[in-house]
């Protein structure tokens, strides 16, 4: 049960504010925003998603640069409230197509309408985009997406030619120009990988956190069958031979029927409208990391050192990684850095962030199989005492690789129960791998 719900912009302005129970004072948004701001300034890191000020509990999640906040005085389940906030954001995004301050401000009446149907007197009524459709009457004012929408699926916007660009920014209710809705369904296999290499390049820990995300614009809610690899195993209990994909654990959206999952790894469901995760899974089985990193740091003089970073893309040459960024903290006394790239390097940019003494190396596109090297000559303002290896690093990397998945988990087929022969909706199955925490220690 919550008392208030509000959405704040990055500057702390109220975009929507709904008081459901009148138990928390009106100034709560201000109290909240000030507390979050000072948390950071007091160098205590980010404010935790849940905190208590004067008996009022504040919950918040950050979505697309906006703060979704709920308050209550009651000792509720934090999970319920945080899930609810996240879900509220998703439903609003389903309606508006794009979630940002501008779309919010243009559609705030619609948002209020949604909020009133979703929550009554602080109790959740429904968060199903499907159900809400019959109660909600405002038409969304769809905004032009000049810039990139946020979210893992956003990479499809500029990546593949096969991807219709409007897909993920399309409202589930708004009609397209021309009046008719396009019948289509998107299935995205999104894998976030975490790898830690030790100083000699061995993998210390690795994990894949995957989601099969679905966004359906199908009319008439047909049933769908989604087949995964037959050699998929869950836990170690039902191991299906070597070379199999072994999930440590997984969970499913409530619409998913698992009747034949044990037999042939098929999920059947009637997808609700809007975006939702069909399945989340977690893998700690060893996998081939997409990048190998070599880092060398050595002192070259009394006030000098040189860093050499080599990044090798170990995936097929038909695949490209986008928005690759390598970062590494340098010794505190680093005063200047001179970068040296390979001759003919295109789309690279290098920077030394003075404030937090960090080296940054961005590469727009890395083709599979290629290798890139960066040399950085450091000049120190003071002599180093300790071991230079302990003063710098670890190196971390972020990237996005479309049409690549680390786990080899696959959607073998996507079957839509057909109503007629002529009816053949568009089906998109897309893969993407992203770095969650990709770290090489020195």
């Amino acid at each position: 049960m919550i008392s208030q719900f509000f959405v704040l912009s990055q500057r702390g302005d109220n975009i929507v504010f709904r008081d459901y129970r009148g138990e928390v004072q009106k100034g709560s948004a201000e109290t909240f925003f000030r507390r979050v701001k000072f948390w950071k300034e007091d160098a205590d890191g980010d404010a935790p998603p849940v905190f208590n000020v004067d008996g009022v509990n504040y919950f918040h999640v950050k979505v697309a640069g906006l703060l979704f906040v709920a308050t209550t005085r009651v000792n509720v389940s934090p999970s319920v409230v945080l899930e609810l906030l996240q879900r509220t954001a998703r439903v609003i995004k389903d309606y508006l197509g794009v979630l940002n301050e501008d779309s919010f401000r243009k559609n705030f009446v619609l948002v209020y309408e949604l909020l009133d149907e979703m929550i009554d007197f602080g109790y959740v009524q429904t968060t199903s985009t499907e159900v809400l459709k019959s109660y909600v009457f405002n038409e969304p004012i769809v905004i032009e997406t000049a810039h990139m929408p946020v979210g893992p699926a956003s990479i499809f916007m500029h990546g593949g030619k096969r991807m219709p660009g409007t897909a993920i920014t399309k409202s589930v209710v708004a009609n397209e120009p021309g009046g008719k809705k396009r019948d289509e369904i998107f299935v995205d296999v999104i894998e976030k990988i975490s790898v830690t290499f030790n100083s000699s390049g061995y993998i210390l820990t690795s994990e894949i956190d995957g989601t099969i995300q679905m966004k359906s614009y199908l009319t008439g809610n047909p049933e769908i069958r989604l087949a995964l690899n037959e050699d998929l195993s869950i836990g170690t209990s039902d191991y299906r031979g070597s070379g199999a994909v072994i999930l440590d654990d997984c969970n499913f959206h409530e619409s998913v029927h698992l009747d034949s999952f044990d037999v042939d790894r098929t999920l059947s469901l009637v997808p609700p409208d809007g975006e939702f995760p069909v399945m989340n899974y977690r893998i700690t089985q060893a996998f081939k990391p997409p990048f190998r990193i070599n880092t060398l740091i050595e002192e070259t003089g009394p006030l000098k050192a040189e860093v050499t970073i080599k990044v090798r893309a170990e995936f097929n040459s038909s695949i490209n990684a986008n928005t690759v960024l390598v970062q590494m903290p340098l010794p505190t006394f680093t005063a200047r850095v001179n970068f040296e790239l390979e001759p003919g390097a295109v789309g690279h940019n290098t920077d030394f962030k003075e404030a937090n003494k960090r080296l940054e190396w961005g590469i727009k596109k890395v083709v599979g199989g290629s290798e890139h090297t960066l040399r950085a000559k450091l000049t120190f303002s003071q002599e180093l005492h300790g071991n230079i290896m302990k003063e710098a690093g670890p190196l971390s990397m972020t990237f996005t690789i479309p049409m690549y998945n680390s786990s080899r988990l696959q959607v073998k087929y996507l079957q839509i129960a057909k109503k007629s022969k002529s009816h053949n909706p568009y089906r998109w199955v897309r893969y993407v791998t992203q770095a969650n925490s990709y770290v090489a220690r020195l």
């Binding site: 890191g45 980010d46 409530e254």
Partner: protein
């Protein structure tokens, strides 16, 4: 409160207000439109309404438009209606007179053809929150509850709750709770049912403070027929309602073990739900149901591990934090179960520090002989982290692991390496740790001292670290050659030392050094005492004076006081008492877990009061069917501790053949093998066992493992004639039943001390006080000067219960006390105890 004009220029959307004068502008425009029937009026109205609501959102007071808004609301346009309702709901409370204007059209809309409009109107009508309009609510609510459309019924059910909050008596007089109860058990629509459940829980919980009947009604929500009714339909409910149902189930006490296994098998697949809130609610049910079955309880931990870890790594960082906090609680309770999962607790460089802190604590907790090396290696990586607070925490974590391990060889080496890293904060943290380590393992002094001796005291700035270094200098002045000279130079800079803590340590250290190496230290000691006597800080001054006089009196006595032979510290005190920890565990799946505090520490009385009782009693209360006065709570809790303290027991009780199959059913198998669960049920304690047996069996286990559970009784010196059970538990239903049945065995009047009266500003103060004397409060109420309390207590060794009614008048300082008891003969002894407890109230 108008935003800067630049903002409205940048974005000309209707949501941008241009200032206060706009309000009067809007007023004018609304008036013009109010009577208009021209085509396109609705569109213009929409634009205007949007502007009004946008101003409202930003915080501009547009209540002046109330009349105009109501006039414009005569429309069939549903979007307009909705905006108008939103506006009215927001301002009715502050404009009760104007709100009356809206009643008419809302009431009319409540009878509309379109169920959507009926629902909307009813919702708005109930949201007005104006006390003198409640009479208009009863009729529409009554028909709303009977509406044939489920949307209207869901709205009406919540409407009843809203009415209750505006005027409880109106709601009760109209007998709405009874209707809700009927709907809850009969309606086809699950959202109607779920709303009935939330509504009834709220209403009866609030009512139960004054009404016995309401308390009974609330208890029936936890009764077998109701719980089973919900369980059987659970999959029809929305995920949110499922959480609600599961909270209810967690309060239910099944009558036997096969029931427990049936429930768990039924809910098993909820652990695979993508919604973390559903998963946590399920886990709560599992944990609470199995409290009395140590081995199954442990299996539950094993079973929920994977789903929890999946939840932690999927979803947003915020959601994963909520789950991680719960995982943290479980890891802290049973670290050995998670010891092989330590890699999941490694920190990722981009995680927020609140996550890293939790993970570091978990890593510390799960460290054992087999994984310590790897964990400590990992922690040492974080020590060089750019995030300095986390680097510090990591070093402390290494230290804590060292203090809890038997084989600290390798760890000591690591700690000593920290000292050589030459980073200020690393050195500081490491020094504090080395000091603690030496207090526990004096045998390491040789190695440590050699390294500590190399640290220049000039490089240590933080008071805590400096104090630690000085302590070591004093304690090991024999082994550290230049100890007297280092101390001497520190004393020379006495005036520059800002921390009193450091100066105090300096005094003591120089004393210790003096006893060991008098000739070298005498001068420094003199200087230190002189400086100390002149110190402006009272404690420093006093200590210096004390040492001075002690030395004057007799040097050897002084030595035996200041530097007696020390025993190694075996265990450093835990910061949180086990009672607090248990309390938090009872409140699983609530904010208590995130804050790591029981709810009474962060929730106001009025928002906890009844909830607190209901939680506490609900979790532990006896099953209505067992009918006797056994209080199983203690047994339950103690078994829980058994489990968490001893791994061996699991193996003792376990019968591999029959045991595993019942609960370790394959993940996707939803069947309920109650037949196979039977053998297991027989193995575990039978919860229907006779009164006398349960405590006896605890004692046996107690002895077997040499554990000391008894929190209160163990610390009490020779047993007085009557000892009370500090953890007595009684549910309100049983209390009332007993209160009716038992005769009054004592009726006394007692005068409270003035101090006691002064402290009795809220009932809560006394309640806490009596609790510390093992007398629990089951209900309390009243305002100054009249307070009324119902207490109960239980004999330590048996199930015999005492019930007390205590009425206190603070203006006359008199209290009237009635005592009823199972065992009449001991009521006099109990009165003595009660009296002495009461007499201590308010004393410092």
């Amino acid at each position: 409160m108008a935003p800067p004009p630049s903002q409205s220029q940048r974005s000309p959307s209707p949501s941008q207000p241009s200032g206060k004068s706009e309000v009067s502008d809007l007023k004018l425009q609304l008036r013009q439109l109010a009577g208009s029937r021209a085509p396109g009026t609705d569109d213009s109205k929409r634009d205007l309404f949007k502007k009004v609501i946008s101003n409202m959102t930003i915080g501009i007071d547009v209540s002046a438009l109330f009349g105009e808004m109501v006039m414009c609301s005569a429309t069939s346009d549903i979007v307009l209606k909705k905006m108008c309702y939103l506006y009215v709901g927001n301002y009715a409370k502050v404009n009760p007179d104007l709100a009356l204007l809206t009643i008419n059209f809302l009431q009319r809309d409540c009878k509309d053809q379109d169920p959507m409009i009926r629902g909307l109107a009813l919702r708005s009508l109930c949201s007005l929150r104006v006390a003198n309009l409640v009479e208009y609510l009863v009729g529409p609510l009554g028909s709303g509850l009977k509406d044939n459309n489920s949307y209207v019924r869901t709205v009406a059910v919540v409407g009843v709750l809203k009415l209750y909050h505006i005027s409880a008596t109106t709601c009760m007089d109209a007998d709405f709770p009874e209707t809700l109860k009927h709907l809850m058990l009969n309606d086809q629509d699950t959202q109607v049912v779920a709303n009935c459940l939330s509504g009834l829980q709220e209403i009866w919980t609030l009512e139960s403070t004054t009404s016995e009947e309401a308390a009974r009604e609330r208890e029936t929500l936890h009764s077998k027929p109701v719980v089973y009714y919900f369980l059987n339909r659970i999959k029809e409910f929305s995920e949110w309602a499922q959480c609600l149902v599961m909270e209810l189930v967690a309060k239910y006490i099944p009558s036997d073990n096969s029931e427990i296994f049936d429930i768990m098998n039924l809910l098993e697949d909820r652990l695979q739900h993508a919604n973390g809130a559903v998963v946590l609610a399920t886990i709560k049910v599992f944990l609470h149901l199995t409290l009395s079955m140590a081995d199954v309880h442990q299996q539950v931990y094993e079973r929920i591990k994977a789903p929890l870890l999946t939840q932690v790594s999927s979803g947003s960082p915020e959601q994963s934090y909520a789950i991680l906090s719960h995982l943290h609680l479980l890891v802290m309770r049973a670290p050995y179960i998670f010891s092989s999962d330590y890699k999941h607790f490694y920190c990722q460089y981009n995680e927020p520090s609140y996550v890293k802190k939790l993970k570091l604590e978990m890593l510390t907790a799960v460290a054992n002989e087999s994984n310590t090396y790897e964990i400590v290696t990992e922690l040492c990586e974080y020590a060089a982290n750019v995030d300095i607070p986390i680097a510090r925490e990591s070093i402390r974590a290494v230290g804590k692991i060292a203090l809890q391990q038997y084989d600290v060889n390798a760890i000591v080496d690591r700690l000593l390496q920290f000292l050589e890293m030459e980073k200020d904060y690393v050195t500081s943290e490491a020094l504090v740790l080395v000091k603690d380590l030496l207090r526990k393992y004096p045998q390491w002094s040789q190695d440590c001292i050699a390294v500590v001796g190399n640290i220049s005291s000039n490089n240590v700035q933080e008071p805590k670290a400096k104090a630690a270094l000085i302590w070591m200098l004093g304690e090991y002045s024999q082994e550290m050659h230049d100890a007297p000279y280092v101390l001497e130079s520190l004393i020379e800079n006495w005036d520059e030392e800002h921390s009193a803590e450091v100066r105090l340590h300096l005094l003591t250290a120089v004393m210790k050094c003096f006893f060991k190496r008098p000739p070298e230290t005498q001068k420094a000691l003199g200087a230190a005492l002189a400086a100390g006597l002149a110190d402006f800080h009272q404690d420093v001054h006093d200590r210096a004076l004390f040492y001075y006089r002690l030395l004057q009196y007799n040097v050897s006595v002084a030595e035996s006081v200041v530097n007696p032979p020390k025993q190694a510290v075996s265990v450093f005190a835990d910061t949180q008492s086990s009672e607090v920890k248990d309390r938090i565990f009872d409140e699983f799946n609530s904010l208590s877990v995130v804050y790591q505090k029981p709810s009474y520490m962060f929730t106001d009385k009025e928002h906890r009061g009844t909830f607190e009782f209901s939680d506490e009693l609900g979790n532990l209360s006896i099953n209505a069917e067992s009918g006797d006065s056994v209080v199983p709570a203690q047994r339950v809790e103690e078994n829980d501790k058994d489990l968490l303290l001893s791994t061996t027991e699991k193996d003792d009780v376990r019968d591999p053949g029959s045991n595993g199959s019942a609960y370790n059913a394959p993940s996707y198998n939803g069947s309920a093998p109650s037949a196979t669960s039977q053998p297991l049920a027989d193995l575990a304690f039978s919860s229907t066992s006779a009164t006398g047996q349960a405590p006896a069996s605890i004692m046996a286990i107690d002895d077997l493992f040499g554990l000391d559970f008894s929190v209160g009784t163990a610390t009490t010196p020779p047993p007085p004639p009557l000892t009370l059970n500090p953890k007595a538990v009684l549910d309100p239903g049983t209390f009332q039943q007993k209160w009716r049945q038992l005769p009054i065995s004592l009726s006394e009047e007692y005068s409270l001390s003035p101090l006691g009266i002064a402290s009795l500003t809220t009932p809560h103060a006394l309640l806490r006080h009596m609790q510390s004397h093992s007398i629990q409060c089951i209900a309390s109420g009243g305002q100054a000067p009249n307070f009324k309390f119902f207490f109960f207590a239980q004999k330590a060794e048996e199930a015999s219960i005492y019930l007390v009614e205590c009425i206190i008048n603070t203006s006359s300082a008199k209290s009237q006390i009635k005592i009823k008891a199972d065992d009449q003969s001991s009521s006099q002894a109990f009165w003595t105890l009660f009296q002495s407890a009461l007499s201590k109230f308010g004393l410092p």
